[in-house]
């Protein structure tokens, strides 16, 4: 199996040195935004992720796919430091993330959404985005309590930026709604807006199209590309909707049983026997 992966990787045009990367051509020569080196984690005796190597360029849209339970979300949790990896490390913008916590990971520019939506559901849509802006629009607690001029200035700035960000998905008129009462698709979009509000360098989207209808998914696809162009950030997404992954991702990484079984462009992944095997089972078994 490992032989076939290596073969695929060396064959692809866009793969530069080192061989495990999936950086598109326009990013070659720049420092990658994310570099995972032999990332692995054990839960008790269970190895959830093993030897995970991945490089993502500065403005790349990458996809992470794999069957259920392959360890995709665990990879996200490793990258955002919800879990500390048992082995290996990851570099964000060349900075070693060893020993960082989630807050520090966010500070270094990793933002994420969640598979099961985690909004601040009792708060308004605008407040959710404002909390995303927490690390940028700053004033201390006492100017907030005393309502000093800096408070009004920063609140105004925060409001304007929140509205601007909500404008990406045309959600300005929902600003005063309680976020928990939004329809499912809107909640997913709001989560993306909130993640974008933290001014990330790498955006991790965990099944952004889950629960969306085909029309919404198509819209989301366009928006993902738009976000990348507008914000000049890298996006790594987990998705089961193959039309989205194949349509928008420049590089795809396939995970099965915690191990990378293939990397490459959409066409390469579709033709890869290891990937087909992981999704559909072995040909022989199917015949028997």
């Amino acid at each position: 199996m490992s032989e076939s992966i290596r073969k695929i990787n060396t064959d692809t045009k866009m793969v530069p040195v080192p061989s495990n990367s999936i950086i598109p051509e326009r990013d070659i020569g720049k420092m990658p935004v994310l570099e995972c080196k032999h990332l692995g984690i054990d839960f008790g005796g269970l190895t959830a992720v093993e030897d995970f190597n991945l490089i993502i360029g500065k403005t790349e849209i990458a996809g992470l796919i794999g069957p259920n339970g392959a360890g995709k979300t665990t990879v996200f949790n490793l990258l955002t430091k919800v879990y500390e990896p048992t082995r290996g490390t990851s570099l964000i913008n060349g900075i070693d993330m060893h020993g960082m916590d989630t807050v520090a990971a966010s500070k270094h520019g990793i933002a994420r959404t969640f598979q099961n939506i985690r909004l601040f559901s009792n708060m308004s849509v605008e407040d959710n985005v404002r909390i995303g802006l927490h690390n940028q629009v700053k004033y201390d607690m006492f100017s907030g309590i005393l309502r000093l001029p800096v408070f009004w200035k920063k609140e105004k700035e925060q409001h304007e930026r929140a509205m601007e960000l909500l404008g990406i998905f045309g959600m300005q008129d929902l600003a005063n709604e309680t976020s928990g009462s939004l329809p499912y698709g809107a909640q997913r979009r709001l989560e993306i807006v909130r993640a974008l509000a933290t001014n990330p360098k790498l955006l991790l989207l965990d099944e952004p199209a889950a629960g969306m209808n085909p029309h919404e998914t198509e819209e989301l696809m366009e928006n993902i590309a738009k976000i990348r162009d507008q914000f000049q950030i890298a996006i790594l997404l987990i998705e089961h909707d193959m039309s989205l992954v194949m349509g928008v991702c420049e590089g795809i990484c396939v995970l099965n049983f915690g191990k990378i079984i293939a990397k490459g462009t959409a066409e390469e992944i579709q033709a890869n026997p290891a990937v087909i095997e992981a999704y559909l089972g072995k040909r022989k078994e199917a015949e028997a």
Binding site: A111, R118, L119, S121, D127, I131, H134, I145, R147
Partner: protein, 363 residues
């Protein structure tokens, strides 16, 4: 929309100020019953306690069962400072003594809140409830054995036995404080309530408050957007402790000799928690009203003698049932909606976007 927001946020200040003015008028005409007049400052203290506990329980989502412990700390440190100012520093003005004592009470309670918060707020789960419960009891046992004397401007502290201390006693263990005059004033009580409301309301509606509520709503998501959960839980907890300490100092200087450490045991903490739950978790204005009503109620029920607390409990249960009844709740929202709709329909020209607002009010 904006006008409605302003009214819904600031009516409580108007209510408190109106109440204050009415009380002052009645006191000046000597037509306020002495029972209620004696209850005014305790009411202010318990309102402050309820609002500050709401900051911990309702806004930051941590359960604290030792809020009266901070009040106790504030009360006794405030008493000692007031006694020192009165007997040694010769500060004549009772207002200055009260203010300084309250600041000292708040400071001491805040420091203890911070010290407790350091280990506990890092943990997830109900550890804060366990630790604060123990904290309240520890404070009670410490103060009940604490003897403080004042001799020529110097404070002498001693545990267990106060016999050998020089000078006049300020605090004599279980016998409580001594040689400290009552200096709590009704206006000061109302100012404390207003101050607490301003601090808590402004805190909630600013960057810090949003971060605190984010940690309550979804800790993992809050961390993922870079919010330091421990720091903001600590902010809420310490702010609440400071306010409780100030309320305690006020209460102590109102009761003076009658202040006993046993008054601030965990049953009192539970009482304050009841105020908060009755007023609605996270609802600051509700805390004010429920604390005021539930402080007056047992006093007004005194004519029932032995049945007093029984009736009090029945009232609590009824309030809980009524406020959770879906029929009554929907009726309340309909009444509210109608009120606001009438306000909005005053302009004769149809307003675009009015329909949207109606739709928004449905939920």
């Amino acid at each position: 929309m904006k006008k409605k927001n302003i009214i819904s946020r600031f009516w409580i200040y108007l209510v408190v100020i109106a109440f204050w003015v009415i009380c002052e008028l009645l006191i000046s005409q000597e037509s306020l019953s002495p029972v209620i007049q004696n209850q005014l400052i305790p009411i202010c203290c318990w309102v402050t306690m309820a609002v500050s506990l709401n900051l911990v329980v309702g806004i930051s989502g941590e359960l604290s069962l030792g809020h009266a412990g901070f009040m106790s700390l504030g009360a006794f440190s405030g008493l000692i400072i007031a006694g020192w100012l009165q007997n040694a520093a010769q500060v004549e003005s009772p207002v200055a003594r009260l203010v300084l004592a309250m600041l000292a009470g708040g400071l001491i309670a805040g420091i203890f809140g911070f010290l407790i918060g350091i280990p506990v707020l890092r943990l997830r789960g109900d550890y804060l409830a366990i630790v604060t419960l123990a904290f309240g009891e520890i404070i009670n046992s410490l103060i009940i054995n604490l003897y403080v004397n004042l001799d020529q401007g110097t404070l002498y502290f001693k545990f267990l036995k106060g016999r050998g201390l020089p000078g006049i006693p300020l605090l004599a263990g279980a016998q409580g404080p001594d040689n400290i005059s009552k200096i709590a004033l009704v206006p000061a009580g109302f100012i404390l309530v207003l101050l607490t409301l301003i601090i808590v309301n402004n805190l909630i509606h600013c960057r810090t408050g949003r971060a605190i509520m984010a940690t309550r709503d979804n800790r993992i998501a809050a961390e993922s957007v870079g919010i330091n959960v421990t720091k903001y839980k600590m902010t809420a907890f310490v702010t609440a402790a400071v306010l409780a300490g100030m309320a305690g100092a006020m209460y102590g200087l109102f009761m003076s000799r009658a202040t006993k450490p046993t008054m601030f045991r965990y049953t009192k903490s539970i009482d304050v928690l009841v105020f908060v739950v009755m007023g609605g978790l996270g609802n600051v204005n509700g805390s004010v009203i429920s604390a005021a009503l539930l402080t007056i109620l047992p006093e007004q029920l005194r004519f029932l003698n032995d049945y007093r607390m029984l009736i009090y409990a029945v009232v609590l249960i009824l309030m809980m049932l009524i406020s959770n009844n879906p029929l009554i709740r929907s009726w309340m929202t309909r009444v509210k909606e109608n009120l606001f709709r009438r306000n909005k329909q005053t302009p004769s020209v149809p307003v675009p976007g009015l329909d949207d607002q109606k739709g928004g009010g449905r939920t």
